[in-house]
């Protein structure tokens, strides 16, 4: 049975479920505990030990169905390729599937599957004495599995690197975010943004906590003790640094060309809310609309489309940064404070309208900093109708923002201000 289960684990891995050696060993131990007489119990046992996310349950269940079937049904299907149980599973694109070697264990006669319906081979009573031998066998099988897996992964990686570096899942960081995504990929990217935000948040929380806890201050501790006349300093004193949270105003261009990046930025900023005293979101094409309230109620990414139909937003107009900054300096400047960061996202392609850079300079005078994210590669700046250079003097930082990594860097800059 051990070899059968190891083969099954191999199958799981080819389908992209991350199963480690320790988990495999757990699974084998678990199976020896419950026995093999109950097929559904076997399924639940393996699932408990091997699958650590309920999102992977459907894949697992399908594979289990296909793999542990009674021989009678299998014989009819024998003409097909040995990997046939996996072909029906379409939930997860498997880039490495083509490269997987069909191994001997997968092709072994299906007799062990028949034992599923026999009474338990390893009943609890005889487990102890056979345990060490069993474990050694399992270990052997697993080591082989691991070796094979490593080889396979190395081969697959090479193949992938040779094929197309852009579609490499491991290189999320390099993924361009300024191109439209297929919908299923998009959900993944949002999850990735969330993960990034979580990481940044926990780091920020740590920073704040350390600053608040402060460093132990011996001098003041002793002084305090002396002053209260106890000689022994009972109350400890700390040197604390005060960190105050900043306010953030995000100003996002949502015209067609930069829509995609804007949604990622808005998502990121809203997940990072806890790190700021307040976050306000404004979107614009040729006039500014505040969408903070909308975002508070919004579900990502389903409701994003509703943003496009926001009444005051003329989505099909031409981007006019000059007009937007003028309007911003008129309507929002009274809300700016010394601790406000203005974050602008846009390509500064002004369609030959008046830049009105003086308006942005005016904004700069009443806030802490202005950070500009440009979703175009640097070499394209100031070409055509891009006029980022005329806004540059008013900005503290201008960053490229067209890959996932850029987004992460921008967030880092934002939190460290």
């Amino acid at each position: 049975m051990t070899s059968r289960i190891v083969a099954f684990i191999r199958l799981l891995r080819t389908q992209g479920l991350p199963v480690s050696v320790a988990e495999s060993l757990d699974a084998l131990h678990s199976v020896s505990q419950v026995g093999l007489h109950d097929r559904d119990l076997l399924r639940l046992t393996l699932r408990t030990a091997l699958v650590k996310s309920h999102r992977d349950f459907p894949i697992f269940d399908t594979l289990f169905e296909g793999f542990f079937t009674v021989p009678r049904r299998r014989r009819r299907r024998r003409g097909q390729s040995p990997a046939s149980p996996s072909t029906g599973v379409g939930q997860r694109p498997v880039p490495q599937q083509n490269g997987i070697p069909v191994t001997s264990a997968q092709r072994t006669p299906l007799t062990p599957a028949a034992s599923v319906h026999r009474p338990a081979q390893a009943s609890p009573s005889d487990t102890p004495e056979m345990a060490s031998e069993e474990t050694a066998q399992m270990w052997q099988a697993l080591t082989e599995l691991e070796q094979e897996w490593q080889e396979h992964m190395a081969a697959a990686q090479q193949a992938r690197a040779a094929a197309s570096p852009e579609h490499n899942e491991a290189q999320h960081a390099q993924t361009r975010i300024d191109r439209p995504f297929p919908p299923d990929c998009l959900a993944d990217m949002y999850r990735e943004v969330e993960r990034l935000a979580a990481r940044l948040l926990s780091r920020q929380a740590l920073r704040t906590r350390r600053a608040q806890a402060g460093r132990f201050d011996i001098r003041r501790t002793v002084l305090r003790g002396l002053r209260s006349g106890t000689e022994v300093p009972f109350t400890r004193a700390y040197r604390r640094r005060k960190i105050s949270k900043l306010r953030l105003i995000v100003l996002c261009d949502v015209s067609g060309s930069v829509w995609q990046v804007s949604t990622f930025l808005l998502k990121l900023v809203h997940t990072l809310q806890a790190a700021f005293a307040s976050v306000r979101s404004l979107v614009f094409v040729n006039s500014v609309v505040e969408v903070t309230e909308l975002f508070r109620r919004m579900r990502f990414p389903e409701d994003l489309e509703s943003l496009r139909h926001y009444p005051q937003l003329n989505l099909f107009g031409l981007s006019d940064f000059g007009r937007v900054f003028y309007q911003f300096s008129q309507d929002f400047v009274q809300d700016l404070r010394r601790d406000t960061i203005v974050l602008i996202l846009g390509d500064a392609r002004n369609n030959a309208f008046d830049p009105q850079a003086w308006a942005l300079t005016e904004v700069r005078q009443s806030c802490r900093r202005i950070i500009w994210l440009n979703p175009e590669p640097r070499r394209e700046w100031n070409t055509g109708d891009s006029i980022i250079a005329s806004y540059a003097p008013a900005c503290d930082q201008i960053l490229e923002c067209w890959t996932f990594e850029h987004l992460a860097q921008a967030a880092e800059v934002l939190l460290q201000t």
């Binding site: 320790a22 678990s30 419950v34 639940l44 408990t48 487990t127 345990a131 969330e194 906590r209 022994v232």
Partner: protein, 312 residues
């Protein structure tokens, strides 16, 4: 790399010796559990692995740990996680003021002890020899994790809502979950005399690290099926009319289909059922639903949406 669990069955493992035993004893403790749950609990008890329980809020994840403690006659130690939870709150702290108090009280004793010494160096050396007196277990304030490790009797350690804690805390937990030991620099390593049964719960507000998932068995508890929920209501709300119970559960099951912001949980179903029993209702009329729906749903828009749907 792993011990062989089959060689040393714990009392809990003897008590829950088969999957059937788990469901039986849990049901006796008024916890209706599915086969998934029973299997996962059985395996975690037999192999002494931590169990990570995920699922929407209010499906009985925390309750599972409580019932596990109850059926295995173990004490339950609970660590509620929150943002900013750190080692001092989770593991141990030195009782600084107690140490100082002892120093103060033993001042004379120390005086006589040090009177024999002639130089400062001798005095320091002598004090250092006595150091262990002030860094003993006596001055250690154990927090939940240490409590669970040093406990003499069988223990169920519930680490509740681990997703609320920061990621560093999760990493720090890894050592404890795999080795069940804690090193205190002044005392050395404290090893668990008997492994506590560890249950971790998560509402999946953020995704947990792969490393943590690898070390645990995994159980996902979803909203219950109609039959299971009916069974739960009948067990937990004694004296409820079976027709009313059926109506309630059917209604709740339908409400869950509506993709609300916060679908009703089991505990809310129970609250609602209890309220209806107290109000003396025997059938679920529309007026009654309008009046009491705020017990089941806690969101203005959700209530409006449900009433609109129920009107049809």
């Amino acid at each position: 790399m792993t011990h062989n669990p089959a060689l040393s069955p714990s009392p809990a493992a003897r008590r829950l010796a088969a999957v059937g035993d788990v469901s039986e004893q849990f049901t006796a403790a008024d916890y209706v559990c599915s086969k998934e749950t029973a299997t996962a609990v059985f395996l975690m008890v037999q192999l002494q692995r931590p169990l990570l329980v995920e699922g929407p809020p209010g499906v009985g994840k925390t309750e599972l740990a409580k019932v596990l403690a109850q059926t295995t006659e173990a004490q339950l130690i609970r660590l509620q996680c929150y943002e900013g939870l750190d080692e001092a709150k989770a593991l141990y702290e030195w009782e600084y003021s107690k140490q100082l108090l002892y120093v103060q009280m033993l001042k004379e004793q120390l005086g006589t002890l040090l009177a024999t010494t002639t130089s400062l160096n001798d005095a320091v050396a002598l004090l250092q020899r006595q150091e262990s007196a002030f860094f003993s277990r006596h001055f250690l304030l154990p927090r939940p994790l240490l409590q669970a490790i040093v406990a003499a009797q069988p223990t169920v350690l519930l680490i509740d809502e681990i997703d609320r804690a920061d990621q560093e805390f999760e990493a720090f937990l890894l050592e404890i979950l795999s080795d069940f030991q804690i090193s205190v620099p002044e005392l050395g390593t404290l090893q668990a005399s008997q492994r506590p049964l560890v249950v971790l719960t998560s509402n999946a507000t953020r995704s947990l690290s792969e490393a943590l998932r690898r070390r645990c068995f995994y159980l996902y508890i979803d909203h219950p099926t109609l039959a299971t929920e009916l069974q739960i209501v009948q067990r937990k709300v004694p004296g409820i009319d079976s027709r009313l119970a059926t109506h309630i559960v059917q209604f709740v099951q339908r409400v869950r289909q509506l993709s609300l912001r916060k679908p009703p949980s089991i505990s809310e179903t129970l609250d609602w059922a209890l309220a209806l029993v107290v109000l003396g209702a025997s059938v679920l009329s529309r007026d009654l639903i309008v009046e009491t729906l705020n017990i089941l749903l806690k969101d203005k828009d959700d209530i409006a949406r449900t009433l609109r749907e129920a009107g049809r």
